[in-house]
Symmetry: C2
Subunit: 346 residues, 2 copies
């Protein structure tokens, strides 16, 4: 927002920044009151920094974890700090010679309209190769997570049965399609008929609607040889159901547990001894570990996108001010595809 | 037991066999009434079979699982069948040319005084190399489980911190000592000061008495760099405590969950998302998968035993008829070292 200053030089304009800051640590389900919506002048980029006008903000299940105190794979967001988020935007000022005004960049820019960031901390993207929101989804962290989590941790072989939960979400949609490209039988688990129809449109072999079907029974039907790879985004009862249907030497990729993030106390998988019975493994992954290989993955997935072998869908909600409610959509499972907040026109 | 027949040829004797059969599937903690104590004539070995007089029977936590209905890594014991157990004994009749009367053998011979077994199904052992009960412990399944579970699944590197639960039990005592041989820092978790003193006598770097200490606090103290390898025999709260103290890329070996076997409903590890935070894995193992390599492990462990680098302890209880109560000792954590039932003098 550009507003004239009410005092001083009338020719000068002060750029104002709307931001969501973390006001308190949520207890249970995240609430609007956990955030504070503030207005502050936009800061000036220092040496080596850029000022980015944010266009789209990525809403990710992981954000719930960043709001909690305590040890995790990255430090929590501090109280009073701008809420952490991935975002894509256009550079409007640059003091990094490698980045020009007008360039589009992605990075961890926060839930706000403008961000000052280190030039080395953002990545240039080309809106002619893919729509900007795709750089927050299939060509962004969720896509990287799907690619490395499935291929490096899940290690599917041709003919394997791959099951993915949260299958109509940002990560799940990509996991299933890559597994199909690799010659696997793919079963997606999602909530509701609309999501299941979407999974069928992506070429999944079967879709299980956990809201209306018994997951264990459906898995037995759709995975007659058992589950070789399970890519888990949800945890809870669905993880427990899949554990009962493992094939020998199955690999479970622990990518997330969205069903549990807003619970006061996590519930562990009571059927975990199936790991012993089936000589199976459950392995956690964090996408950041593969940062040096993002380029390689982006090139391969870009090729699949261009060839129409990989489809992608974004669920775009308009307006920064909707952020707390839009974030809740994620935990209520209301989004299909990558949930993105649109902050400004391109 | 050799008793004169009450009818027929007085010169003929009929050998009688006392057996424990599974009478019903236990609900919760195993009870005496889950077994039936019966007497039956000893069967004659057929072609390729041997008749073994059982001397020692192995009591293992896994027996509880074999009593349950349902899919596992081996079929359950059927109602009315002799309870499955490993045992060592002396061959008293042989119709297998590779096995002579007087040979000592180990195999899955059941909870009884005499067993007819396929000659190919048993393994000859030499009582001059090690006392017979050791072939049920450190040189038997528990030792093999420790060896392959630690070295193949846990993959400790020199300098790693290795934690083992059920550390004073048949498997745990071997896991810790092998980890020491491999140059690791070793922390054992066991219940009670006597067991902890035993762990210190084996050369463990630290012992945590879970009955009198807060396991998480003690782990923080004894594993300042976190836990690289956790060999889990117990599950439950101890598994959850260790999950909070993992080092990056930690490996958890799921070998058993004795704290849970008698529970109506297993409790899963609620802290399993630590696998994600630490890029760690939890992998199940069943010793049978390494059967082709038992010889290799027995040779190496036999060498360590002979050299005094590996110590072994057996907790020997006298009398087949005590079987149900002696089995309960295991689930009450009353044994130190390998729990063995002595059936007859050598």
């Amino acid at each position: 927002m550009l507003v004239p200053r009410t005092h001083g030089d009338a020719a000068m304009n002060t750029l104002l920044n709307h931001q969501f800051k973390l006001a308190r640590r949520p207890v249970g389900m995240v609430q609007r009151g956990d955030f504070e919506y503030v207005t502050a002048p936009v800061a000036e980029p220092g040496e080596g920094e850029v000022l980015v006008k944010i266009l789209y903000i990525s809403l990710d299940p992981a954000m719930r974890g960043w709001m909690n105190e305590g040890k995790s794979y990255i430090p929590p967001v501090g109280i009073g700090e701008v809420m952490r988020a991935g975002a894509v935007g256009r550079v409007i000022k640059s003091r990094d010679p490698a980045i020009a005004v007008g360039d589009h960049v992605v990075g961890v820019l926060g839930v706000q309209e403008y961000a000052v960031a280190k030039g080395r901390g953002v990545t240039k993207v080309d809106p002619r190769l893919a729509p900007l929101p795709v750089y927050l989804g299939t060509l962004g962290m969720p896509g990287m997570t799907a690619y490395f989590g499935l291929l490096e941790v899940g290690r599917p072989k041709e003919g394997d049965t791959v099951v993915v939960s949260g299958a109509a979400g940002a990560v799940g949609q990509v996991v299933g399609q890559i597994a199909k490209i690799k010659g696997c039988r793919v079963v997606g688990i999602a909530g509701g008929s609309e999501k299941c129809a979407y999974l069928h449109s992506l070429g999944f072999d079967a879709a299980i609607d956990y809201k209306h079907e018994d997951v264990k029974t459906a898995l037995k039907q759709h995975c007659p040889k058992g589950v070789d790879v399970y890519f888990d985004n949800v945890g809870g009862e669905i993880l427990d159901a899949v554990l009962t249907q493992l094939a020998m030497h199955a690999r479970i990729v622990i990518c997330g547990a969205i069903s549990q993030y807003n619970e006061a106390k996590m519930t562990g998988p009571s059927n975990y001894m199936s790991l012993l019975v089936n000589r199976a493994s459950m392995t956690g992954m964090v996408v950041f570990d593969y940062a040096s290989r993002y380029g390689e993955a982006a090139r391969e997935m870009g090729g699949w996108l261009a060839a129409g072998r990989l489809k992608t869908r974004e669920d775009i909600v308009d307006g920064l001010e909707t952020f707390p409610d839009t974030l809740l959509k994620l935990f209520k499972g209301e989004n299909i595809g990558k949930l993105v907040l649109k902050v400004a026109d391109e």
